[in-house]
Symmetry: D3
Subunit: 113 residues, 6 copies
């Protein structure tokens, strides 16, 4: 069975965020707030926004960003089939250099379902 | 009033595609087909896919790709408010270097509505 | 003599910003504010920050961003020799794909001095 | 002596590809086929294409892609001197940010020869 | 018939290079020399290196770099069929965001042959 | 207490550089020299150049490059507050995809002070 990764991932993320926040830079703190708010449901629902975040993270090849949005989009109730269609858009837009990140995301996805 | 750009854009795109296709490279032809099919409605609807394509194009800063998906997402009936929420996700993910592309997209959007 | 570009550049920038702001997206408005504040003098002075913005813009190959920071760094009293040293850092970090942007920046710089 | 890495690399790659393929997305499957076919000998021979794939992977800083094309170009009979000339092109085009990837590639290359 | 672009392109390039060189930054001057030397024939012949430069320029989406290497690779006697195979490698590696640059390159190529 | 990383980092860097240099490619050797010289104090002082190198490395998301310039900028006597202002510029320019790299840099910074 695929390894559970999401609990460790979010704990490590929280631990490092605390270091960043302990240095109390107002601009950085505000950026993190904007980042979080960008995915709240509004004129577009949260799931659509998480799908946009996932595809953007894949074409920019940011593994941590992919892991984050993969878990979030899963939490909104997205199906595996829907997530693979998002993978496909990212692959076509970003090309074969996306493949190593798609492979890792595919393994992480198995462990969520 | 904002300048109409979409007719010229798609005509120029068609003209150049004809040059590409006239050279009959099978791999390139197949890639173009995969690209087109990736946005067909399936487990995710066409509008969601066009929004993913728009955000991916913005974070990768590809003006022609942005123009294309902007028109397509508009054609699916997306509202201006929804499109600005997609702009915001792209801006937060991709940073201030997205701004020049967001500005151009904003002007193109005005002419569509 | 080199063509004056900076007045037109900032006027066009303002015109497009007005279109963006007229759509009143709070997240985008806040992002633009964070972007502006990031270059205010603080623990690092404004000139150093503008040099960082210039080099970041060059390695990311964003012509509008380069034009903006080139003018700003010039306004802080930077010399042409200092700006060429920043060009050199950007060139070494980002490689030969930076050269077309460096060429354009070099021409714009001549018109400022 | 340098560590053998290629067997593990290709086994892990196969293991993850199986996960991807088990989800049976037709578009992704076709993309992988196009990717594979792009490097077949034709008007340009396979070695030239693998060199293009290697340099493209280096300037895009994709370690897995570099490992893959490094082994493939080695398998076509390329000499170490030829591969270093390709490294040099990638370094000049992509700049100093290519260096960490060039270092890793250099170590992997030692173990192949 | 397709428009001749190469003479204008190289003249403008020379004009801007003169501005850069007139500022006499030793590091920049040396970088330009390294860039030029990287494509000289050695263990790999000049044509192979120009093909590597072309594909690297396409996946990094640098239009000026593409124009430059397109003309150079043409000057080495490469056929249109060979150049389209290089286009295909760039397209597969870099994804659909390469397409606008491929379209422009295709038009420029017609005018060379 | 945060883990000491800098000694290991520079030793591994030296070990791999030796492999690269042992292959005696003149162009690569010259590139490494240009890279080193670009950060020497001149019309701009060394600290300003290291800050430019740090921000460029962050927006290009090159972890090894970030580690290198983080240590160098620290060695010039930069304060933690100054370094966080540089982090902020990089974050605003490069967007949320910079965050995973900023988190790692923040942890590395704690161990230096």
């Amino acid at each position: 069975m695929a390894k559970k990764w999401d609990k460790d991932f979010f704990e490590e993320r929280d631990r490092l965020n605390e270091i960043v926040f302990s240095n109390e830079h107002l601009g950085i703190k505000r950026f993190f707030a904007l980042d979080e708010q960008a995915y709240h449901g509004g004129a577009l629902d949260e799931q659509t926004k998480e799908f946009m975040g996932l595809v953007a993270s894949m074409v920019l090849r940011c593994d941590d960003c992919i892991s984050y949005h993969l878990k979030k989009v899963y939490d909104t109730g997205a199906t595996k089939e829907q997530i693979y269609e998002a993978f496909n858009v990212a692959l076509v837009v970003g090309g074969s250099i996306v493949i190593p990140h798609l492979r890792e995301a595919a393994e992480k996805l198995e462990s969520l379902f």
